[in-house]
């Protein structure tokens, strides 16, 4: 079958939706190629390759709308999809806030944010196997107590996204992603612990070396061996950067326009008020060059931008797409995220807690007796109230030093209190994810153990 440009498919769908009676419509078409390889104990375990394409159509009939998606790109299927979408929209309730953004809000230029590295698409399975093998080898060579592994995995993908809407927006971009991870298993005295490390980037040359990933993963698994439980107590809790990033994700969910109007956010009515100390500033920035959360335009064709969410402790902005902004009498912040087959929702782009002035070592040294958290499990967060209670793994701090590993404990508090009690922010911010934070210390939480 001849390849049809994705933009032609978008044009056809928009025209067909209008012909079927839509007053407005938008279309996302995405195409991706991916490769992943898994290596375990030095030999290939799996090789996976794929090419996938998918499209989504949203049609409005006045204030009514519906969203559909399909993987069938045949002309007949597209014509039927357009008609079905409009028919579906007609039977749905009218919503006065529904609709596409005003044309004046749409992005007029599509910046090159360095999201695509053509070298990623040229990576071969052999190269992936070599990198994964090296990462696992480095992990297993680190210590005799690492005699087993869940393996190492290498992944590479490139994709192309086209977005078009009836007010006239047409945008297209490519991006790429490459990742390498390893999960070694450490054993001693009949007990086992696994941990992991990984690197994820848009460009191959920015990936951490297999050697570094392997050694870091090994060190993390080893330091969990011979873990103890601790007595129930109230102590300062230090979140390592990975776990501090998790707290930012809770913040991101609570500042989403949808959580606010639905009543499912603990930050309702908190705009403009102090929610954290002076040294806490949180920024969302979709324009960071090469950023894992960067996009040249959002899921509705608005320019992405830099928004200060928490400004020196004051909740300075919520995050909106067009719909949630209209519901709350605000303006979109360009945070519409769009999966192919879904209506827009709000998601951060690159969200980060601005680095502070304390080195991570100084933060640990400042704790007489407390917990350094390296892993959290479970889903014990109530988004409505901010109540927080999760299983934790980490290291116990005694006299300002990491003393021994602990597990089978929980940490509990309330996110409002936890943000208010961030009493130290580390210097060690690294943009390893779309949502990133440095080490932070929370003055007091309940640790439940024996």
């Amino acid at each position: 079958m001849a390849e049809q440009p994705l933009s032609d498919i978008a044009e056809l769908l928009l025209a067909e939706a209008e012909r079927a009676g839509a007053t407005a419509a938008d279309v996302v078409v995405a195409e991706a190629e991916s490769l992943s390889v898994g290596v375990r104990l030095g030999s290939i375990e799996k090789l996976k390759q794929a090419r996938q394409k998918h499209l989504g159509l949203r049609a409005f009939v006045g204030e009514r709308s519906a969203v559909t998606s399909s993987a069938d790109f045949s002309r007949d299927a597209l014509l039927r999809l357009a008609a079905d979408t409009v028919a579906l929209a007609r039977v749905i309730a009218a919503d006065p806030c529904a609709g596409l953004p005003a044309p004046a809000e749409l992005a007029t230029t599509i910046p090159d944010l360095d999201l695509y590295d053509p070298a990623v698409g040229r990576l071969t399975p052999e190269q992936g196997v070599a990198m994964a093998t090296e990462a696992e080898r480095a992990a297993m060579a680190a210590d005799a107590r690492i005699a087993n592994s869940e393996g190492a995995e290498f992944g590479a993908s490139t994709s192309r996204v086209v977005y078009g809407s009836s007010p006239g927006f047409r945008g297209e971009y490519r991006d790429s992603g490459v990742s390498l991870s390893v999960v070694p298993v450490a054993s001693e005295n009949g007990s086992m612990q696994r941990d992991y490390w990984y690197s994820s980037q848009r460009r191959v040359d920015r990936l951490e070396t297999p050697e570094h990933i392997g050694r870091t993963a090994a060190a993390r698994a080893l330091r969990r061996l011979n873990a103890r439980k601790v007595e129930t107590c109230e102590v300062p809790v230090v979140f390592d950067p990975e776990m501090a990033g998790g707290l930012l994700r809770q913040l991101a969910a609570a500042v989403s326009g949808y959580a606010l109007y639905k009543g499912t956010s603990f930050l309702i009515d908190k705009l403009g008020t102090r929610i954290a100390p002076e040294h806490v500033t949180v920024v969302d920035d979709g324009t960071v060059a090469g950023g894992l959360g960067s996009k040249p335009f959002d899921g509705e064709g608005l320019p992405t931008r830099r928004t200060t969410v928490v400004d020196r402790g004051i909740l300075a902005s919520y995050l909106f797409d067009t719909y949630s902004a209209r519901r709350l009498g605000a303006r979109s912040t360009g945070n519409a995220a769009r999966s192919v087959g879904e209506a827009p929702r709000v998601a951060p782009t690159n969200l980060f807690l601005v680095a502070g002035t304390h080195t991570p070592e100084a933060i640990v040294a400042s704790v007489e007796r407390g917990l350094y958290v390296t892993e959290l499990i479970g889903f014990g967060v109530n988004p409505v109230t901010g109540d927080y209670s999760r299983g934790a793994v980490g290291l116990w701090i005694e006299g300002g030093a990491l003393a021994y590993p602990v597990e089978e404990i929980t940490i509990a508090g309330n996110l409002l209190d936890m943000f208010a009690n961030i009493d130290a922010v580390g210097t060690d911010l690294e943009m390893r994810h779309a949502v990133s934070a440095p080490t932070i210390r929370i003055a007091r939480m309940t640790v439940a153990g024996g």
């Binding site: 030999s43 290939i44 375990e45 799996k46 090789l47 996976k48 390759q49 794929a50 996938q52 394409k53 998918h54 519906a66 559909t68 399909s70 993987a71 069938d72 039927r80 079905d84 579906l88 039977v91 749905i92 309730a93 919503d95 529904a98 399975p125 869940e150 298993v185 612990q193 696994r194 439980k229 129930t232 107590c233 109230e234 639905k262 009543g263 309702i268 087959g341 879904e342 209506a343 499990i377 479970g378 889903f379 014990g380 409505v384 109230t385 109540d387 927080y388 209670s389 299983g391 793994v393 597990e407 089978e408 404990i409 929980t410 509990a412 508090g413 309940t446 439940a448 153990g449 024996g450």
Partner: protein
Amino acid sequence: MSDFDFAPREPARFFLERFGLSENLLADTVGAAIARRADYADLYFEFRTVRTLGLEDGLVKTAGAHIAQGVGVRVVAGDKTGYAYSDEVTVESLRLATRTAGAIADESGETGVAAVSAARPAHDLYALAHPPVETPLTDGIDLLSRIDVAARRQDSRIKNVIAGLGIEQKIVLIVNSAGVLVGDVQPLVRLNVTCIAEDGGKRQQGTFGGGGRVAYEFLLAEERYLRYTRTAVEQALRNLHAVDAPAGTMTVVLGPGWPGVLLHEAIGHGLEGDFNRKQVSAFSSLLGRPVASPLCTVVDDGTIAHRRGSLNVDDEGTPTGRTVLIEKGILRGYLQDRLNARLMGMPLTGNGRRESFAHIPLPRMTNTFMLAGETPPEDIVRSVDRGLYAAYFGGGQVDITSGKFVFSASEAYLIEGGKLTQPVKGATLIGNGPDVLTRISLVGTDLRLDEGVGTCGKDGQSVPVGVGLPTVRIDGLTVGGTQAG
């Protein structure tokens, strides 16, 4: 809600006609896939239709209709898996995917010929007169609207109702080098109700729902949708006045049904074949050994009619079955897919599952539950002087290597003097898988399965599952709350 040309009672015919394929071509493709020194190959065709409706602010304002289709080709050689998939189902894409997946088996040989014969699934667990995906859209809109009215009428403190209906139909066809050609049509219905309650500046939510591989009418029967709604309202209101959870180790009583998620996390994942073959599970090499109190018998059963976790055949074409995992406290079995069963020299259990054609099968649970015991549930509560009663949970998670698991109670009460007293919020329970079932000191007569909303995540793949439990008493489980001492 229908856009089918015909109801696909015959999955094989559906795929062959839709994509212009023939049984001979499929057999040749599987044959080519195992041509190199491979042990096993399979093709997995999928055509999935999803309909969604969403209500908020008293109005059904969102509707979705989605079609996904594709084919995954897998070649297994030793412990190596090659996998390729495509959402284009053509002779050419099949050939390309077969070549790509086959690259894992690196020595060329004669072209194998797989003798494939069409089979019917071993069970017929969800035959329905009317596929739920053919339910008129207006019925779903009407249902969600009635839920909104019922919730608000029940209590004026209910300020918002968010409800969603999802109806899915997955048609699959599996062709493998073991000679199987088998198809299945898998319906799946799920209704969720969330209520937001406000009172005196306090806000809380309650969530409840249910479903299964059932007809749409299941939601209406015995006014199920109204029961889900009432339960969500009651949970939201109860949480408004709940006290903070205690922290520390105490006696915990788990109510019947959904708290069976304890078994899923604490035991089930640790008994999946892949983790045990690789010796990375806390249960590795404990087969035949006691891992639970003699009161405990735990099974995984994919053959219960209409349950969310049930399947006629697993995603490798193996009939699902009932596997005894723990028998009177002794570890008896693992859950297997083809790869791990072959490498471990163990029988297939029908637990090879995948999220979609884009995913490699893994050993996964179906419906996992503990059989009923002999103690009346009232006596179990009465036996506890001070502890926690957990009636419903949010979600759970496990680290299968260390065996540590966590799950969060969304409905719990303090037990004082053998009676449920105050409702408690924010209780997280944490324990050690190989240890927790040894602490079960009483098992109730009241086995109940969950309502049909469970989804299990593993290796980035989500599949529907079920759980179940009678009331049980666990002596000494760590409860993570904020109220120390």
